[in-house]
């Protein structure tokens, strides 16, 4: 568990730090070129990519039952996110407020956690 938590915590800390720095730089100097503004706005994605690599590597190290549990949880997250985001897309067409794309990942992560909890009850 420690082997998973330490890189995850480091990755999240790096992501938060990079996000704060990039947002402050972007807000502080509007004369940056477009290329620099793009680079700064995407800078938090580097630690985010490290987080993704950590998660994929951790799943690769799981035993067969844990992999099955994760597969089922990810399937729930994938299908649930598709249903909810498409459903809300239709609702936007009838006047509900448009939401940012930033909402998709927290939604998927929440459904993933729910899927893992359901799996733990099923296999526990």
């Amino acid at each position: 568990m420690i082997r998973f938590l330490v890189p995850m915590a480091s990755g999240f800390a790096a992501y938060a730090a990079m996000l704060i720095v990039s947002q402050r730089l972007l807000a502080g100097d509007p004369d940056y070129s477009t290329a620099i503004r793009i680079a700064l706005s995407l800078a938090p994605m580097a630690p985010a990519a490290f987080l993704c690599w950590t998660i994929v590597r951790s799943i690769g190290r799981l035993d067969e039952m844990q992999r099955k549990l994760q597969l089922e949880a990810l399937a729930l997250a994938f299908a649930g996110t598709a249903l909810i985001t498409f459903g809300y897309g239709f609702l936007e067409g009838v006047g509900l407020p448009k939401l940012s794309m930033f909402i998709v990942w927290p939604l998927m992560a929440t459904l993933w956690v729910i899927g893992v909890l359901v799996g733990r009850v099923r296999y526990g």
């Binding site: 035993d63 067969e64 039952m65 844990q66 099923r122 296999y123 526990g124």
Partner: protein, 65 residues
Amino acid sequence: MKNRIRELRRQRDWSQSDLGARLGVSRQTVNALERGRYDPSLPLAFSIARLFGMTIEEIFEPEQE
């Protein structure tokens, strides 16, 4: 699937973690196996049988259809 894993483990005074370490799986997987909540793959079933010095059929009891 019903099985004798818990009985065989206790005969050897192993904890679930001990058995998991010997099989290369997590304690949670051992618990799920013992409770019949998870059926092992064929390679894992062979590993379990080999560890206890028995056949798969002597450890696992398929559900009656």
